[in-house]
Amino acid sequence: MTTLFALGASPKTMAVGYAPTQPVPYSHALHAGKLGIDCRYCHNTVEKTAFASLPATQTCMNCHTKIRTDSDLLKPVRDSWTTGESIHWIKIHNLANYVYFNHSAHVSHGVGCVECHGRIDRMDIVFQAAPLSMGWCLDCHRAPESHLRPKDQITNMDWKHPEGPEAQELGTQLKQQYQIHDTAYMTSCYTCHR
């Protein structure tokens, strides 16, 4: 019974791998992986705001007025463009309302996209890679050093953390450089539950 309880209610089971069918079968593997479009071309507010905005239809149409202009798969995008109505995407990474999460605080302080979202650049259909549970958040909040990367590697999904003593050295240096708070602040209830 206990096992069943753990399996049934754990975010690992309930959230990881969630991959709903979106109105447009947008492939991150194609756009971000093969074509190498930077994450911030579409998610342009991610360094400025708490919420990583989805791109406006306008952003899609920057290219798709010229490329694949009559693709059936892109019809919802063209419809949105002509009518001005939003495309209704399904939210994948969904935190509880009692958690405050700020994208800009993470992205501009050395946490790469890949740390939480996984290899988006290899996903044809985006799924949730990490459990996004409180325990999982705290793993990093307790010891941020091993998860930080240089500023120019934030959106690079291929970048690997160094191994061995070098890792410790770089982590400490980056923590200082990004002015990451001490453990007491990083694990305080109020930091996330405001």
């Binding site: 049934g8 001005g84 109505e85 995407w89 399904i90």
Partner: protein
């Protein structure tokens, strides 16, 4: 407490009890009081075996939920709807601030409104506007009414649809019928009467001009229940024309106030409070004006915010206020006023203290219950002590170029009762509720066959009208307005109208048959005429962003006191709005007698001197501020 004790308590006449059942002391009550957690079995809750079984059940049910919910999903599905085209400069999730203004009684209060993802959420003063800042260029202030107006905008009780005789209608239906009726009146306007709120913005004034030009014979009545009629009349007595008085309390060392609540109920009170506190620095302060404490003398007819912080305060009967003013004028040496006013000991002491240093950077201001003659004396005193141009400046006041409210409303009621008004248009306000009770406006209004009302709420006035039209809130509409000193500012909307409302300007444009009826286009057109034309829309954008147009204050009025004598203090010096409108009623009786439409009691009405003050208080609420709030 056990049963015996309880019995004893009741027998003694228990001094306190938790309920009537407790006092009656029934056996059920006894049992209930004995338990700490009524309805629960404490022993069972705490027994280990029971807790384990509870968790077992809970775990099983959650596991089942996890297995059976589609897709093993933790949360309900949520949608994300990004813009089709991003609005310029908009970053979702980042609050933005826009300058706008709230107009009350024809005076704008400059504001800076915070908007979150397209919804206004907080109102503060505009820090770049001199009539709003408390710390120059850093901190804007707004009063309680402006702060509360955001709740007014979201108020679910606001009127939402066009109503015709109590049934839902539409703007299209109204426009079709009204345009036909109004185009029949075009060029004439006979029988058309308008009761409007006061407004000061160039676009609104221009639209009024166009409306009146289209219907030249229409009777345009402006009415505000909280107004400064006595002040305007007083300026006319003193100078021969109305002026806008601007106090400079940051420059005044001695402030003598005659029922003038300048820190709270004055239209410019946000600025006045900031200016006044600028001169209340103690000797320990490290800021400007260190140690320069101004002194405030207040003679007032009721306790006010300003009176509560005055250094010397004299509670005074409204009927004595003029006498005190006259005594001060006499002491200062105003020509035409003898200094032999009979005063009580308290009044004598107050006057002596108040005038001592008045010539040394002093200023006098009147308000509240002060009569027109009292206001004229205030101007004369200011001139005599050399305050004009230093601690007080006088400006032209184009908004006062209109009939007095009392006369205009009185004449309208006479016209209504005589059946001369065939179409009555009521813009904002709530005259059926707040017009002077003696006028019986709520009865007269029914004599007009067609009654159209634009209002935020379906209120007393709407109930008496055929058409009720929902009004757009100031946070929903384009417009413009002038601050107390006349500085022009643009009212820009923070959100599209929630309930399909229109502003006064838009309705006037619609009824006057204008080609341009959109509020934004009207504002662009009006401002396009006074802004440089070679730079596209940039100058207008700058004005909208700043919330004000520099150098648009009312020009200084080049006036000197002309009055050479002032009435004695023995009678007739109550404020016109505080003496029950007996004089208006007398005028109505007189008009009816003259026109041959006299009623049986009109001859008796001529001699009436009594006041309906209590009746008015009952209807209006005796507290002006509270009433003001109701109206907004």
């Amino acid at each position: 407490m056990n049963h015996e004790q309880n019995q004893a308590a009741v027998a003694k006449g228990a001094s306190y009890w938790r309920s009537l059942a407790h006092l009656a002391d029934s056996p059920e009550m006894q049992e209930m009081i004995g338990k700490e957690f009524p309805g629960y079995d404490v022993d069972e809750m705490l027994s280990p075996a029971s807790r384990r079984s509870f968790l077992k059940f809970a775990g099983a049910s959650m596991a089942l939920a996890g297995l059976t919910l589609s897709g093993c999903r933790r949360w309900p599905e949520e949608k994300l709807a990004p813009y089709s085209t991003n609005p310029r400069g908009r970053i979702p999730g980042v609050p933005e601030q826009y300058a706008t203004a709230m107009e009350v009684g024809g005076v704008a209060q400059p504001l800076l409104v915070t908007s979150y993802d397209g919804r206004p959420i907080k109102i503060e003063g505009n820090p770049s506007h001199p009539f709003s800042w408390t710390v120059k260029e850093k901190l804007g202030s707004a009063d309680a009414f402006a702060q509360a107006s955001i709740l007014e905008m979201y108020d679910p009780h606001r009127s939402r649809t066009v109503m015709l005789d109590g049934k839902e209608s539409s703007w299209d239906a109204f426009a079709a019928i009204a345009q036909k009726q109004f185009s029949a009146l075009r060029g004439n306007g006979d029988g058309l009467a308008v009761v409007s709120e006061a407004f000061s913005g160039p676009s609104a004034v221009e639209l009024k001009r166009r409306f009146v030009a289209a219907f030249p014979k229409a009777n345009w009545v402006e009415y505000e229940p909280i107004n400064r009629e006595a002040e305007i009349e007083g300026a006319k007595l003193a100078f021969g024309k109305p002026v806008r008085t601007v106090l400079h309390l940051d420059k005044a060392s001695h402030v003598l106030l005659l029922d003038a609540d300048v820190l709270y109920s004055h239209p410019a009170h946000v600025k006045y409070a900031a200016d006044w506190s600028e001169r209340r620095r103690s000797a320990d302060s490290e800021e400007m004006h260190r140690g320069e404490m101004s002194r405030v003398f207040m003679a007032e007819t009721g306790l006010s915010v300003t009176g509560s912080v005055a250094d010397v305060r004299l509670p005074v009967d409204p009927a004595r206020l003029y006498a005190v003013t006259r005594a001060i004028a006499g002491k200062v040496g105003v020509a035409g006023v003898s200094g032999d006013e009979k005063l009580s000991a308290a009044e004598e002491k107050f006057v002596a203290a108040a005038v001592t240093d008045l010539k040394d950077n002093g200023v006098v201001a009147g308000g509240g219950a002060l009569s027109p003659a009292g206001h004229a004396l205030v101007h004369a005193i200011n001139e005599k002590i050399g305050a004009v141009g230093k601690t007080v400046t006088l400006h032209e006041d184009p908004t006062a170029d209109r009939p007095g409210y009392a006369k205009a409303m009185g004449d309208l009621v006479v016209d209504l009762n005589a059946g001369k008004v065939s179409m009555l248009l009521i813009l904002g306000g709530n005259p059926a509720y707040d017009a002077p009770a003696d006028l019986k406006f709520d009865e007269a209004i029914k004599k007009a066959p067609i009654r159209i009302r634009l209002g935020l709420y379906e209120d007393e006035t709407s109930a008496l009208c055929n058409w009720h039209l929902p009004r757009a809130h100031y946070l929903e509409s384009w417009g413009d307005a002038r601050a107390w000193d006349g500085t022009e500012g643009i009212v820009q909307p923070l959100i599209m109208p929630l309930y399909d409302g229109k502003s006064i300007t838009e309705l006037l444009a619609l009824l006057a048959g204008e080609k341009v009826t959109d509020g934004h286009e009207i504002v662009v057109r009006t401002w396009g005429e006074q802004l440089p034309k070679d730079a596209g829309d940039l100058p207008l954008r700058k004005v909208i962003e700043a919330g004000l147009m520099e150098d648009t204050a009312y020009p200084a009025a080049n006036v000197t006191v002309q009055a050479s004598s002032y009435p004695a203090s023995t009678e007739g010096h109550l404020h016109p709005l505080r003496c029950g409108f007996a004089h208006v009623r007398r005028a109505i009786c007189q008009q009816r007698l003259a026109s041959g439409n006299a009623r049986p009691d009109d001859q008796a009405g001529l001699g009436q001197r009594g006041s309906d003050f209590q009746e008015r208080c009952r209807r209006l609420g005796s507290d002006d501020r509270r009433h003001h709030q109701d109206r907004r």
